[in-house]
């Protein structure tokens, strides 16, 4: 169920209305059920994965806080994913309902997992406290990373290995399994890892009841593509009973409208040009190459920041406040500034859980640069299992390094001149070319197209079209440029806001076509 769909337009108000009628415990149960329903609309099978991940994190967190749950309860709870998969298979075989098929090997893994986890749980509880806490932390972190690694990267690394062996003249003759990437796995595993670390550091209160924890991990507004929330600020919102405030409705509707505008008007329109330029034929000349990447830059920005606004607006209607994820990224003055404006919750996650643990910038220049490269390569790989994403990460690592070691660039980046933005924007665009291309061959085609002189006639109209679809967003941002939150309009006079809401709605409705998937759902 996409945020920009009629289903969601009915689902969200329905959930919000029911939510505010219930006591706190009922709200948590409602959030859990509706979140699992929301996630299940993509693929029912992966509810098993989400619930398995939830089970592990819950019991590990309980153990880290010194609460021992009975082995029988652990076994029964962690058996739920296997029971669910078994039901899916039965329904698939016995009825014509659109329930996907579950393989025997998946069932076997789902059945073995509770036994192994319960055994590990009981065994670790025999250890002394410090070692036990650390063991449960690693059990939680590694299980999450294993899930992410298997579903997202197994195919990529296996195919790369096969390609390498074939290049060396060895024919391995392996038949690689086709693994479907579960929606949102990159997001909720990172949130789970952050949770486990914060519980271990005693920075967050772990809820006693599993329902609240499961609702926290599966919270539907931010489950599929973030923002990747920090437990320190997010969990307390689940633990504290909330009272309705009119602000929730006003802010929620504003964010939903902004998100709709960014997605339907900016992103989905820019996608037309970007998909053409990066389609199977590739760009025909330099004009289409540049148009294509500018269109993609605003497509991905409108898509993801639009998604974030929709997520924040949805959460706000339920009384929750999600983190800001974007702050006018194309106004960045240097690469470091860009990453403080683009997908902020991911960059701060990598900063806190990879870069700083590696030593950050505390161990000399060479080590800092190495840490930057490791962090950015992993960030690139997080976006997708493909060498182009690794290259994208390397490109940004290279930019960060250059701006750090080349004095004129460092001076430019730290200045507040417009020139810094003018230099940084094309550099960002080159990054998007790498990001958008599916293969190195396509990347080569794009750069080759730059040498083909365009015809001015063919270029002028699409350029005007693109400007018409980007300009409203830039004007909107100009109005909110002084605010930390790019979705803030509150400081404007009410009449101006009324006109803006009307224009945003009209522009969005003019472009509402068939439901378009959000780009970041694939990550």
């Amino acid at each position: 169920m996409s945020f920009v769909s009629w289903q969601y337009a009915l689902f969200l108000p329905g959930v919000a209305l029911a939510y505010w009628q219930l006591p706190h415990a009922g709200r948590m149960l409602l959030l859990l059920v509706t979140s699992y329903f929301f996630y299940g609309t993509w693929d029912l099978r992966f509810l098993a994965l989400l619930s398995a991940s939830t089970g592990i994190d819950y019991y590990c967190a309980c153990s880290m806080t010194g609460v021992r749950r009975p082995g029988g309860a652990v076994l029964l709870t962690t058996l739920l994913p296997a029971i669910w998969l078994g039901c899916c298979r039965l329904v698939n075989e016995a009825t014509s309902l659109p329930v996907p098929w579950v393989s025997g090997s998946s069932l076997a893994v789902a059945a073995a997992f509770p036994l192994l986890f319960t055994l590990a749980h009981e065994w670790i509880w025999r250890w002394e406290e410090q070692a036990r806490r650390r063991a449960f932390l690693w059990l939680s972190v590694l299980t999450n990373l294993l899930v992410l690694g298997f579903f997202k990267y197994f195919g990529f690394f296996a195919e790369s290995l096969v390609a390498l062996l074939e290049w060396m003249g060895i024919q391995p003759g392996w038949t690689l399994p086709q693994i479907i990437l579960p929606v949102a796995v990159s997001f909720y595993t990172f949130q789970s890892v952050a949770y486990a670390v914060q519980v271990f550091r005693r920075k967050v209160e772990h809820p006693a009841d599993g329902v609240t924890f499961a609702a926290y991990l599966a919270f539907f507004p931010q489950l599929v593509a973030g923002p990747i929330e920090r437990p320190v600020s997010f969990m307390p919102q689940f633990l504290t009973p909330m009272r309705w405030q009119n602000e929730y409705l006003r802010e929620g509707l504003r964010l939903l409208l902004l998100g709709l505008f960014k997605k339907a008007f900016v992103a989905d329109n820019c996608a037309l040009v970007a998909n053409h330029a990066f389609g199977s034929q590739g760009p025909t000349d330099a004009a289409w190459a540049v148009l294509g990447v500018v269109a993609f830059a605003f497509q991905i920005y409108g898509d993801f920041s639009g998604y974030t606004d929709l997520a924040r607006g949805s959460a706000r209607l339920l009384g929750f406040e999600l983190s800001r994820n974007f702050r006018m990224p194309y106004g960045a003055r240097d690469p470091s500034d860009f990453w403080q404006r683009w997908h902020i919750t991911l960059s701060t996650w990598f900063r806190d859980y990879v870069y700083i643990p590696l030593g950050g910038n505390r161990a000399g220049s060479a080590r800092t640069v190495l840490n930057l490269w490791i962090t950015m390569l992993l960030a690139g790989l997080w976006h997708g299992a493909s060498w182009t994403f690794v290259l994208w990460g390397a490109y940004h690592a290279g930019l960060l390094t250059l701006y750090r070691v080349v004095p004129p660039l460092a001076r430019l980046g730290s200045s507040s001149s417009v020139l810094a933005v003018v230099v940084m924007f094309p550099l960002t665009l080159i990054g998007w070319v790498i990001f958008r291309c599916h293969s190195m061959v396509q990347l080569g085609q794009w750069f080759a197209a730059l040498s083909v002189t365009p015809s001015a006639d063919a270029f002028a109209k699409p350029l005007l079209w693109l400007v018409l679809h980007i300009l409203p967003l830039l004007l909107l941002q100009a109005l909110t440029r002084r605010d930390q939150d790019e979705a803030a309009l509150g400081h404007l006079p009410w009449a101006v806001r009324g006109v803006i809401y009307f224009l945003l709605f009209a522009l969005s409705a003019s472009s509402l076509v068939a439901e378009q998937e959000f780009i970041y759902f694939q990550f």
């Binding site: 079209w465 806001r497 009324g498």
Partner: protein
């Protein structure tokens, strides 16, 4: 305690309501039939209070703008042409409707030829136009019959019904204001500023679906049966109204290369069964000698202005043969 909804929100509602009201009053006609996909009975046909009828480019039907008197003057010989993109041509003056009018006037007749031809229209949607044409006292209705648009007729019928359903996905577009914005965006902004290749994903899917459907003998049989039945209904309408009907059978250019090109209308042989004193059949291929096909056809179906001129000559000859023309000077 802040208000549940703010003044700015109410201003938004007010602006939206005003825009909607404007659309439903000032721009009512230009939006008519936008989501009827050609199946709205009167879309694009605007009868003014002063007795004039305007043919408009509306959301649902994109007529070439023309106007005529609602009540046909007694001394005017009125011909109304109902057809698809082949009959439509590139303008009224350059299609066979315009040429026919010029040729009739050259003979001293006070003639008025009106094009009701619309691209992609198959038998069902043409029948709706025949029904409208008969309301304006034509002396002759020319019905251009072909078999190339049945897929589109069916697709648009399904779209119309889908939109008319109570499905929530269409709720927003029931606003006339949003409909106008949507069509302005897709036709004026996208259609005029972006190359066709950029906009083809949806068009490509449609073309692919049509290609697949046109290879399915069962579908073809259904289409042919339906075209036959609906055309029979159009013929009956004209006969019942006492209006003469000339059926022009579309010919398709087949064969590989100019030297091998031929015209084929074998799929339309059934129209000859409608022949009657007030119903005549003209096979388009009789108007075109085979050696001139390269100069007369743009592609396998559409004809150049010279082709339209020649077809108009053939229609004129057929009208003359059938003694349907009034005496010159009348």
């Amino acid at each position: 305690m802040p208000l549940l909804l703010t003044r700015s929100f109410f201003l938004f509602l007010l602006l939206f309501a005003t825009a909607e009201l404007l659309m439903r009053t000032v721009f009512q006609h230009s939006m008519e039939g936008r989501f009827d996909y050609g199946y709205h009975p009167t879309a694009g046909i605007y009868e003014r209070d002063d007795g004039r009828v305007d043919l408009l480019r509306t959301g649902g039907r994109r007529f070439f703008p023309q106007h005529f008197a609602r009540v046909c003057p007694q001394d005017v010989f009125r011909v109304m042409v109902v057809g698809d993109s082949v009959a439509r041509g590139t303008s009224v003056a350059d299609c066979y409707t315009g040429h026919l009018q010029a040729q009739l006037r050259a003979r001293g007749l006070k003639a008025e030829c009106i094009s009701l031809a619309l691209p992609g229209f198959g038998a069902r949607r043409k029948d709706l136009l025949v029904e409208q044409a008969l309301r304006f006292q034509p002396d002759v209705v020319v019905l251009h019959v072909g078999m190339t648009n049945e897929f589109e007729d069916e697709r648009e019928w399904n779209r119309k019904n889908e939109f008319a359903s109570a499905h929530p996905r269409h709720w927003l577009m029931h606003s006339h204001f949003l409909r106008l914005l949507h069509s302005l965006k897709s036709q004026k902004v996208n259609g005029q500023l972006l190359p066709r290749a950029v906009l083809t994903p949806q068009g490509g899917l449609d073309a692919e679906a049509e290609e697949v459907a046109s290879r399915d003998p069962a579908r073809l049989k259904v289409w042919e049966q339906r075209a036959r039945e609906v055309t029979a209904k159009s013929v009956k309408r004209a006969v019942d109204a006492g209006v003469k009907l000339l059926i022009v059978n579309q010919a398709t250019r087949v064969g590989h290369g100019p030297s091998a090109w031929q015209l084929n209308d074998s799929k339309l042989a059934w129209t000859h069964a409608f022949s009657a004193p007030s119903v005549r059949i003209l096979d388009m291929k009789t108007a075109f000698p085979s050696e001139t096909l390269d100069a007369l056809f743009i592609d396998s179906s559409h004809i150049r202005p010279e082709g339209h001129r020649r077809l108009a000559e053939s229609i004129l000859a057929e009208l003359e043969r059938s003694a349907w023309l009034p005496p010159a000077g009348s």
